[in-house]
Amino acid sequence: MSAGRRVACAVLLLVAGVSLAANWLAPGGYAKQYREATDAPPSRQHWLGTDEIGRDRFARVLYGTRISLLLAPAAALLSTLMAALIGGLAGYLGGVWARIAMAVTDLFLSLPWLFLLIMVRALMPLNVSPLFSIVVTFFMLGLLGWTSAARVLCASSATLKDSDFVRQARASGVRGARLFWIHVLPNLKPVLYAQFWVSIPVFILSEANLGILGLGVAEPMPSWGSLLKELEGLVSVGEEPWKFVPLALLIVVVTSFQLVLSNQEEVAV
């Protein structure tokens, strides 16, 4: 394991650990409004100051990190599984099945995500808890995010289908689902891992973008997206540097994922 990857893993573990300890590190919680200390700079009580309605920014960063880091991998897992099923099977079956699967993939790729998500939010019942809202958002991201991975997996699966060991298995009488399940799918694992790791930062950034549009996480629950919204209209970095902590954290986490991923890609290749 390279030094860079070791550092990246340590950073991810540290961030995950600290966010999981949010209940102890920020006992006031993310929703409590200190209305006499709004938009305050960092202090002993509020390490990263408070937001515009007086909520402790440190607590919100911790809880927001927990949400983004928990749900983004879940969405990545969903999208990777869908990609494996659709892309992997299409490549394995080949012929008309592959053409149909790729046509469906192309159709999904051409869908305007943003409008689709806005539509889903508008169609969702209004009286849902903030947690349900964020779960639905990530579920939608996972449901829509399998397409690129499916193309890669289709190509990999098509290559594997004609490999010597698969031919040998076929010659030995292994057929159909068993051949796919026992011989093809396990050999797609490195590609699946790579796709999984690639998807996590993509979904984190997507949720952040949706948060900026007022979609995604509902008040008072924080997410990186809602925290990044605070940077709107900020004129200079030097003015209130503590407001950049969520952005710095996002960059650090996404970079760490990329470093971990680069190693996985090597494995995949």
Partner: protein, 541 residues
């Protein structure tokens, strides 16, 4: 050959340089007495009778000549092209005596014929004039009678509420000028228009007004209006000195400017704009029956109103640049505000008492109705409006204190409007209301129960509650009366009912904030639009 080329090149450079210098000098000379500010959208029309948007309205204000105009500072009606006017007792007829010797910007003389032409155009159903709508009080034609070139009387088929004040929005157009609506009687005229970029207004050489010393008005040579929808860019351009004023500044920008340059910002106090929330009272709304019963209960609505900390909303969300709202009319509306009304005190205890009267009870920190349903509702607001999102979050927190769980939902505007006007699939909405007019007749479409904009329960076939029936009666009474005292009495009662029944829970009235460059002299920002340049003819630079 080469020396000739060098000579011609040098000569060419000298000419270009000289032209550049001349250009800069000319630009500086033109810039003398030129006011610059931004319009936030493209004007849809230059025809004053078709104005339906803020940008066109700004152009009309600066170029249009009116018979009477409301002084934006005193809120009193003042003579302009008409030296005097008289409204008949039945509120159907108005007679004007006009100034003589006045010409449009192209030199065409102005007379009673132009007033008659303007009114006929205004009331022509084919023109679909939004300004004309406020004069359409009943079926039938408008009659204009030219008594002399300086006297005219106009008779409407039915009484028009505040008939004289309605003329504040009617800019005269020429009956004879070949330039049609581009011939104006106001202080400025449109000289150049680059779509999507700028509109140049130049001083009207035939403007009739002079100052006390006999100097012809306006003082400014021109006004350059840059079309700029991005507020951040507008702010940056103001800071760089590229524009001279900003209207309707938001409180964050105001404080940022005030921190570095306190002399440029102006807080004129509470404006007419209000932020409010309301519950869905539509009978056919797709909501559970028990929730409909909560929302239709005055005690429930008043309890929610009492549980909202308006002082905190004004102080925290608007950084102190807002006032807790009292009722449907802002205290900024000097004549029509009912001074007997006071802002609702924040009182969770009073809220709980009102709720108990309706059978609600607290169980383990959760409020439940008499059937044991936990009180949970959602508040929708439009996404992207940070002030409304923050208000909704604070209301969510306030409601938690009386055991009510609120879900805040931000939706894109079209989805929100669809739920509000079509599907009625919502529980509570938080939105703002921009009041352009002072007269209660401007709010008829909100208060009449049959109206489409009667937001809490639109288009009722007949008033569904006694208090709505009373409001209908009072609003119609004030609209058909020409006696200001009687009208005031009626509308005062409407305001009282609105507070007692709380169909709208009024939250705050935002302050009128603006920024004016120190290089502009004579500015005196007010709460009414156009806040900063209402006295444009008296501004200097």
């Amino acid at each position: 050959m080469s020396s000739f080329r060098k000579y011609t090149q040098n000569s060419f450079r000298s000419i270009v340089f000289s032209l550049l210098c001349l250009g800069i000098l000319a630009a500086n000379a033109l810039a003398q007495g030129e006011l610059r500010f931004c319009l936030r959208s493209e004007p849809k029309t230059f025809d004053p009778l078709k104005v339906d948007d803020d940008a066109s309205s700004a152009i009309r204000y600066l170029t249009g000549g009116l018979l009477v105009r409301m002084n934006r500072q005193t809120q009193a009606l003042e003579p302009e092209l008409a030296t005097s006017w008289k409204v008949s007792k039945d509120g159907k007829q108005i007679s004007f005596t006009l100034r003589s010797g006045i010409s449009f910007s192209d030199g065409t003389p102005f007379s009673a014929e132009d007033v008659a032409y303007t009114v006929q155009q205004l009331m022509d159903p084919a023109l679909h004039s939004p300004t004309g709508d406020s004069f359409r009080s009943g079926p039938g034609n408008v009659e204009t009678k030219i008594i002399s070139p300086t006297q005219i009387s106009i008779t409407f088929p039915a009484p028009v509420a505040a008939l004289d004040r309605q003329f504040d929005g009617v800019a005269m157009v020429s009956a004879h000028s070949p330039k049609k609506e581009m011939a104006v009687l106001g202080p400025f005229m449109v000289a150049d228009y680059k779509p999507g970029a700028t509109i140049l207004l130049k001083k009207n050489p035939n403007y009739w007004k002079s100052d006390a010393q006999g100097r012809k008005l306006p003082y400014l040579d021109s006004i350059r209006l840059d079309i700029q929808s991005n507020r951040d860019v507008e702010m940056l351009r103001f800071k760089r000195g590229e524009i001279d004023l900003i209207n309707s500044l938001d409180s964050e920008y105001f404080d940022k400017l005030a921190a570095t340059n306190p002399q440029v910002v102006h807080d004129a106090g509470a404006s007419l704009d209000s932020e409010q929330m309301w519950f869905n009272q539509v009978a056919k709304a797709p909501l559970p029956a028990y929730k409909k019963a909560w929302f239709r209960s005055a005690n429930f609505r008043r309890a929610i109103s009492a549980a909202v900390n308006r002082d905190d909303l004004a102080r925290v969300v608007f950084r102190g640049h807002a006032q807790p709202a009292v009722g449907p009319v802002s205290p900024a509306n000097k004549f029509w505000f009912n001074a007997k009304l006071k802002p609702e005190n924040y009182s969770p205890d009073a809220a709980l008492k009102l709720l108990q009267a309706d059978g609600f009870r607290m169980e383990n920190g959760t409020l439940k109705d008499k059937d044991g349903n936990a009180v949970i509702f959602s508040i929708i607001t439009n996404s992207g409006n940070k002030y409304r999102e923050r208000m909704a979050s604070m209301i969510q927190d306030d409601m938690q204190k009386i055991g009510i769980h609120v879900n805040v939902v931000t939706l894109d505007f079209p989805s929100l409007i669809d739920r509000m006007m079509q599907s009625f699939d919502y529980e509570a909405i938080l939105l703002g209301l921009t009041n352009a007019g002072l007269d209660p007749s401007d709010q008829m479409n909100v208060w009449l129960s049959s109206s489409e904009n009667h937001q809490w329960n639109p288009q009722e076939k007949s008033p569904e509650t006694a208090w709505e029936a009373e409001i209908d009666k009072l609003m119609r009474a004030q609209a058909s009366s020409s006696d200001p005292k009687k009208r005031k009495e009626s509308f005062d009662r409407v305001q009282e009912i609105a507070v007692e029944q709380a169909p709208f829970i009024y939250l705050v009235n935002k302050n009128a904030l603006s920024a004016i460059s120190p290089s502009v002299h004579g500015a005196n920002p007010v709460i009414l639009l156009p806040q900063t340049y209402w006295n444009a003819e008296l501004l200097t630079k």
